[in-house]
């Protein structure tokens, strides 16, 4: 139940990809028949991705190698293109590392980056957004919905404020896309990052939506593919798989979103109700349908993951002990959790293949796991109120 980390590729997407590896291996840039066949497939995929995010023109979709590249292209591309106009970039304190680190990098290159605070649910503080927006602000980059705690940001509200100051809005919809309806047009989004694997397409593919009139510097220079914004021969099999996944996601979104939301709430209730000193991370309703993020006092996340793993349930944690660094998740700290609370967090992300039985099984394991680890922990109070 760690679908945010990796998802299986939809079998229809796999089927759609196969011909573009075996027989239709043309290069979309070639003028001959093979090339034109590839070009048609490329543009069809572009259309499907555009439809998923409510983009009016398919040409606004630029294919990349994934969400990390899309975020980098959006942030650095806008910053470099507009540096004569302003050097101020606003972002939130609950972004993915592929937003945090490009912003920090630009901070060393003469740009000024501001990390906006969030409330206890992870919502961006609109007042500080307004306060920090000024004439020098060229870009605001905000996550659509948080992959760790599931909180869905008020994108429309953010967009209004950003545009009133003439800045450009980039939204990282990696976790949100395919789970909840997104419309770049209606929500006033200038740039949008999406990832193929997060919607059951193959890994190594993503896209950046670039709205009309938005100009950015490319990161990769070469043959001028993707309107010159991302040179290099397109990863056609991957893109075709991504397109198919987008088509399936759009069709299945209303029913799957409802199913997962119901499953999510059953899961959260089952994880919290029977266990004292247990809490939900993020907002109870304004959250992604797949996201279940909880925490248990007095114990540490990795030891919970190990215990679950022994019983065949795989999850993830914001504890430092599961990360490459020794710091717990910056998202959990940003919503105001103490270090020891962040260490005790546990995250499940549901997927298409997750059933009610899976959820009930995981629920059934938690009370004894928590009880055992609390017995081992010196932090557990002598008498734990029921």
């Amino acid at each position: 139940m760690d679908n945010a980390a990796g998802k299986p590729v939809d079998s229809q997407a796999v089927e759609a990809m196969l011909p573009y590896m075996k027989s239709s291996y043309g290069n979309p840039s070639s003028l001959h028949l093979f090339g034109q066949e590839a070009k048609r497939a490329l543009e069809e995929a572009r259309m499907k991705v555009a439809e998923l995010i409510g983009a009016e023109k398919k040409d606004s979709v630029i294919f990349t190698s994934g969400a990390t590249e899309s975020n980098n292209l959006a942030i650095k591309g806008i910053a470099y293109r507009n540096k004569d106009r302003g050097t101020r970039i606003l972002t939130s304190s609950v972004e993915h590392m592929s937003v945090v680190n490009p912003c920090k990098y630009l901070g060393t290159k003469g740009f000024e980056t501001v990390f906006l605070s969030v409330d206890k649910y992870g919502f961006v503080d609109l007042e500080s957004l307004e306060k920090e927006l000024n004439d020098k602000t060229v870009l605001v980059t905000i996550v659509y919905a948080n992959s760790e705690i599931g909180t869905i940001e008020p994108v429309k509200e953010i967009s209004k404020r950003v545009h009133s100051k003439g800045a450009i809005l980039h939204v990282d919809a990696t976790a949100a896309c395919g789970q909840i309806p997104i419309s770049v047009k209606e929500e006033g989004i200038d740039l949008l990052t999406i990832s193929s694997n997060d919607i059951y397409g193959p890994k190594g593919v993503g896209a950046l939506y670039v709205g009309e009139g938005i100009r950015l510097e490319p990161l990769v220079h070469g043959g001028g593919q993707e309107r010159g914004l991302r040179s290099g021969t397109e990863n056609l099999p991957g893109i075709v798989g991504f397109g198919k996944a987008a088509e399936i996601a759009k069709r299945g979104l209303p029913s799957e979103s409802k199913r997962l939301t119901k499953l999510r709430d059953r899961f959260i209730g089952g994880l919290l109700k029977p266990i004292p000193y247990s809490f939900l991370n993020g907002h109870p309703t304004l959250r992604l349908p797949d996201n279940v993020s909880v925490r248990y006092s007095f114990i540490e996340g990795e030891s919970m993951l190990l215990s679950l793993g022994m019983m065949g349930v795989y999850a993830s944690s914001g504890s430092a002990c599961t990360a490459k660094t020794l710091e717990p998740s910056h998202v959990l700290l940003a919503i105001g959790l103490k270090h020891e609370e962040a260490h005790g967090s546990l995250m499940f992300t549901l997927g298409k293949q997750t059933t009610e039985e899976d959820v009930d099984y995981a629920i059934s394991l938690m009370p004894s796991i928590v009880k055992r680890l609390r017995e081992i922990s010196p932090l557990t109070p002598k008498e734990l109120p029921k």
């Binding site: 007095f298 540490e300 996340g301 030891s303 010196p378």
Partner: protein, 129 residues
């Protein structure tokens, strides 16, 4: 990621618990870092007659705590002070590199418990004088 030995000690920790009338208690680590260990010892004739632990932390923190109680039980206090972090890790068949520093604190906790015992002994002697 973990050896079978580490998993065994995580699944079935040895000597887990507290000693209410302990002769020495040592606590190291910090919940802020994600690891906190307390070791309790009972000393008789200069030997570690009983030893117990309580740990908040990851799998390797729990396993190293459990392992040190096995390594130390029955040893003299001097022998106990000579047990190192490396001894603990080796006895578990090794630890992942990232865990060597943060959660391999059990030897420090044992040493702290023995120092605590010495301190208490000294205090008792001074009171008797």
């Amino acid at each position: 990621m973990y050896t079978e030995k580490v998993m065994d000690h995580f699944r079935n920790p040895r000597n887990m618990g507290e000693i209410s009338d302990a002769d020495g208690v040592g606590t190291v680590g910090n919940p802020v870092c994600g690891d906190l260990m307390t070791i309790y010892i009972k000393v008789k004739d200069n030997r570690l007659e009983d030893i117990k632990f309580k740990t908040f932390g990851c799998g390797s923190a729990i396993a190293t705590s459990s392992m040190i109680t096995e390594l130390a039980k029955g040893k003299t206090l001097e022998e106990g002070l000579q047990i190192t972090r490396a001894n603990v890790a080796d006895s578990l068949g090794g630890l992942p590199a990232v865990k060597m520093h943060c959660s391999n604190l059990a030897a420090d906790a044992l040493h702290a418990a023995i120092e605590d015992y010495y301190k208490k002994q000294k205090a008792t002697r001074e009171v008797k004088k």
